[in-house]
Amino acid sequence: MTRRALILGGNRTPFARSNKEYSHASERDLLTAALDGLAARYGLAGERIGEVAGGAVIKHPRDINLTREAVLGSAFAPTTPAYDVGMACATGLEAILGISNKIRLGQLESGIGGGADSTSDAPLVLGDNARTALLDAMRAKTAAQKLKAFARLRPADLAPQGPGAGEQRTGKSMGEHQAMTTLEWGISRQAQDELAALSHQRAGKAWDEGFFADLVTPFLGVSRDTNLRPDSTVEKLGKLSPVFGTKLDGEATMTAGNSTPLTDGASAVLLGSDEWAAEHGLTPLAQIVDAEAAAVDFVSGAEGLLMAPAYAVPRLLARNGLTFADFDVVEIHEAFAATVLCHLAAWESEEYCRERLGLDGPLGSIDRDRLNPLGSSLAAGHPFAATGGRIVAQVAKYLHATGKQRALISICAAGGEGLAAIVEAAK
């Protein structure tokens, strides 16, 4: 029998809107805080963990070894190895999956997967003009060559460039890409605002009930996700002006309220084998069963940028002989409310499922009561690489606490990528 990769717990910082409370915290600080909270929650200070995998999407050039540096600054033993992972917004989930696969193979007894992102403490870089001119000047052998290189510099070149959420191959922002898909699927403003309001309300209720007390450790005076608006309603959200798709040929429906804001935060998930969990007196919450990645051709316009999970999920279900009815919980990362709604519509569409997904008929509908029962990124916020850890830890606790059996996780990512995973109760 193959070994199980158990989810033993998780910890994250509260997520804070960009350029606010965490403005002066680096991604290393954030990830270290997430690791420290995890060590404290499970009494693991000084413990050597098999491996820690993590990453950040908006990453400083100096942070080539971000995760290892965070481990060195944390309460875990300095003999704990670590490596960085990168898959845009799926970074955290991919890190967790990599660790879980190593546990299942017997390469690891314990591991931690997670990630951190800060769009506040962001790297600023010189534009390509300035950068190549300065590099050429550095390589120049003679004074004349140096002068020639410097002469290429224009004052405007010296303005630093911040990180962009733009796609390199299309130049369009993620929101603009989603706006095209939203229009294509005819997703209404009302439907998006309803999903956003529900996300806030559900997350707010879970916070009030203390559900996050053993999932989140406060950081820099922040104890709750600062983006959370538990009193959010469709009426309030309806007053916001559209920010994406305003130049498209159709109604612009995506607002700041039904899109995730830029957020800072970090998360970490503790994984281990049955033996390791027993040795450390830890109660398994759930296990990672399987996962599937997909990617789409958004460059040519053949598919929407964020629609890759639409492909990953049916392949994952088919391999495991499951349908949506077999899942008690479905966690679809809310990059935008419309992303979730486009996926639901796509899986209900016979035409799409036949022509794009190669299925015999529609994949099916998802019971809305089972969808994101604790709210998702629209409420919590979305520090890119930290989202996977947030979802995995909370869904594992949710399965354990409610006695439910199986959960599906789906996360879309830049570059037209997507990642889906199945999590089951540990029993």
């Binding site: 805080a33 420290d36 909270g37 060590a39 404290a40 929650r41 499970y42 009494g43 200070a45 000084g46 309460a75 203390g210 007390a213 053993d214 989140v216 450790t217 406060p218 950081f219 820099l220 104890s223 007196g281 109660t283």
Partner: protein
């Protein structure tokens, strides 16, 4: 927390302070795991008196390797002077041992110890149930006066405390434990107090094992599972560190908002952080589930103040203070009982306060909760005794914490000098007393309140 006055009178202003007769606090001798003397001092111990108690204590000390003298020598330096009064029948019996202490007192070293051993006097209620000879009870009561006055006369960081035998002989295991505690640097800020031993229960422990630390199997709390509420900062964090030092595996509880500090504190001791509000109805369930194994030690440390003069007191301030400081403890102890979450011999120690003994302006709510804790410990003692455990309270006086740091400068200076040791205590001083009472060795001490106040003049 710095005490500038203490630094000055032990430095540049030593001469002036002495001439002016100003308070002369000295830095107290405190326990350190690295101390080659294990928290004891090298000079001989004088054991005055020729009672069975004197024989028993002298025997314990000799066995532990102390140099013991049985007659006062005026030229000798003593690390401790023990006066045994057990068996005294009349106040006339108190004279010899007391004068022997007086003869030796000038030889007491800095941070030395005076310890009395005597029989516990009967209260009026006890005497009504079991009549006691008035002369005998006058002798027993007299020791209280001797000890408390001697404590006021102590200089240079020395303390005076007593051990009371309440229906037990001097061989009771907890008498030895009390002796080690009072002799040790662990009791640095305890003075003018009595430890009452009223049962033969308790693990017999030697002086060296009392000072054992870390992962040593001999350490006083080795292998014990301890839960500390309000563990993130201040006295709570000190309790966590001292319990761990004494061998316990520690689980710290604090409100979710204090989570970052709690994680740091617990990671320092390789302990476990539990983010929970102790006033929540299911707090005990949450804690028991997070610990996941029998709880041997529970320290009710979490507490709040919401000061207001009685004329301005409101329901919010009243109920929140009572809710956190005492009602949560009553509920948690009961619920842990129902859950069967206690270990075989559970020890509970609750934080009281000298305000709960003497009262304090603006603190009717706080004093009610802290006096309540003292009453709770007394009443719950029987039920804990039945399961071989104990429940006690510790009442700190002026302790240097973030809270007292916020006092006005002059008020703080006066508050510090208002004790026989003329200085504030440290959080670890409170923690040492708690760790002692939470040990199996001290199980014969039950239902009591131990003050850690440097013999504060308030509420004496």
């Amino acid at each position: 927390m710095s005490d500038t006055y203490l630094d000055l009178v032990n430095g540049p202003l030593r001469g002036i302070a002495k001439k002016l007769g100003l308070p002369a606090p000295v830095p107290l001798r405190r326990f350190s795991a690295d101390d080659p003397q294990h928290g004891y001092l090298a000079e001989p111990v004088l054991v005055a008196g020729s009672t069975p108690g004197a024989e028993a204590l002298a025997g314990l000390l000799v066995d532990a390797g102390f140099s013991v003298q049985r007659a006062a020598d005026p030229g000798q330096r003593y690390s401790a002077i023990i006066a045994a009064y057990d068996g005294a029948q009349t106040p006339a019996d108190l004279q010899d041992a007391t004068l022997a202490v007086g003869t030796a007192l000038r030889g007491l070293v800095t941070c030395g110890r005076v310890i009395t051993l005597s029989d516990a006097p009967a209260t009026a209620d006890e005497a009504a149930v079991a009549p006691v000879d008035p002369a005998l009870n006058a002798a027993r009561g007299g020791v209280t006066g001797i000890l408390r006055s001697a404590a006021h006369e102590m200089r240079s960081g020395s303390t005076a405390n007593g051990i009371l035998l309440d229906g037990v002989g001097p061989e009771a295991p907890s008498v030895a434990a009390a002796l080690w505690f009072l002799l040790s640097a662990k009791s640095a800020y305890v003075s003018g107090q009595f430890l009452t031993v009223d049962s033969e229960r308790g693990r017999r422990i030697g002086a060296a094992d009392f000072a054992a630390t870390g992962d040593s199997a001999a350490a006083p709390l080795a292998g014990r599972v301890a839960v500390v509420t309000g563990a993130a900062r201040g006295i709570g964090a000190a309790i966590v560190e001292v319990l761990r030092r004494d061998g316990a595996q520690v689980y710290g509880v604090d409100v979710p908002a204090a989570g970052q500090a709690l994680a740091d504190t617990m990671n320092r001791v390789r302990g476990t952080a539990i983010q929970a509000d102790i006033t929540a109805p299911d707090a005990a369930d949450t804690i028991a589930a997070a610990v996941g194994r029998p709880i041997d030690i529970l320290i009710h440390n979490a507490g709040i103040t919401r000061d207001k003069m009685l004329a301005n007191m409101d329901a919010g301030r009243w109920s929140s203070v009572l809710g956190v400081n005492v009602l949560s403890q009553l509920r948690m102890d009961d619920r842990l009982d129902e859950l069967g979450a206690w270990g075989d011999a559970p020890h509970v120690v609750s934080l009281a306060s000298t305000s709960g003994i003497a009262g304090n302006r603006g603190q009717t709510n706080y004093a009610a909760s802290k006096a309540g804790v003292i009453g709770m410990a007394a009443a719950a003692a029987d039920s804990f005794a039945r399961r071989s455990g104990s429940i006690n309270a510790v009442a700190p006086g002026f302790i240097e914490t973030e809270m007292t740091k916020k006092m006005p400068v002059l008020t703080r200076q006066v508050a510090r000098r208002l004790s026989s040791l003329a200085q504030g205590g440290l959080p670890r001083d409170v923690a040492e007393a708690i760790a002692f009472l939470a040990s199996d060795a001290a199980a014969g001490i039950n239902g009591r309140t131990l003050r850690v106040c440097g013999q504060n003049m308030v509420g004496a």
